[in-house]
Symmetry: C2
Subunit: 150 residues, 2 copies
């Protein structure tokens, strides 16, 4: 039995790629009998400092969050610029893109995973924290998002 690479096994979020966040958000709201959450665009490149496969990208996504008891469900509508969101939509269509874990020491964790042949796919900043998507799709069959909350 090896060490837990993230120091956590608690999934805090499931991210679903959608074409139209307003429409799917309304469907979820109706289905679960809750108010439709306000969707919002991720920050522009200067603030988000988004990098996709090692290069800066102007990519943004329109997000909506649902509180599903033990975790959050995140709906993600990609724009047309290159991103892991856009790539997933183009290659796989709408569906579950990632599961997320909250970690401490995000950049160290990225290194640990990269050393184990799980490369960083995309990273960025947001108000109050930062995220990294790791390419764990070849071994874990799903992308992991690491979230660091300040």
């Amino acid at each position: 039995m090896s060490k837990n690479m993230l120091n956590t096994n608690v999934i805090t979020q499931i991210g679903i790629i959608v074409k139209d966040v307003e429409k799917t958000s309304q469907m979820f709201a109706d289905f679960f009998g809750v108010d439709k959450p306000e969707a919002f665009w991720t920050d522009a490149a200067d603030k988000a400092q988004t990098e996709y496969k090692g290069s800066s990208t102007k990519a943004r996504a329109r997000l909506a969050f649902f509180d599903m008891g033990s975790l959050q469900l995140e709906l993600i509508q990609p724009d047309e610029n290159p991103s892991t969101w856009r790539e997933f939509l183009d290659e796989k269509g709408e569906g579950v893109h990632h599961i997320a874990f909250e970690v401490k020491g995000l950049f160290e964790k990225i290194k640990v995973l990269e050393n184990q042949n799980m490369p960083l796919v995309q990273k960025g900043e947001f108000d109050g924290g930062r995220y990294a998507y790791m390419d764990t799709s070849h071994n874990l069959k799903v992308i992991l998002e690491l979230l660091e909350i300040d």
Copy 2:
């Protein structure tokens, strides 16, 4: 605000379709520093009474479960017979197939969803309960599994 169609919003399981449950299970065990769980085949048709798109099917899957804090992660290796698992693997490849909710009154819930244009895809029995996969992929962009535990 409408009524919650399932009377719950707690996601109890994430189901991932894989080609080789032993291999992926070992990857998860190594990643999260836990013992590899014992994988097992779902019951044969006579016991599981599996129905896929309204017809009996001999389909089985080899399953492994991980306890991820707030929910279970289920790895599912389909056999070659027709099932929602096999269909997903053939059409989308490996990845997240469903999110699951525990419900009471499974057959009533199936009717409620079918009346809202979300058809039953597959159902079956297992020791201690039964399940139904609902085709919510056109509106919620992910298949829902309803689980009834006796």
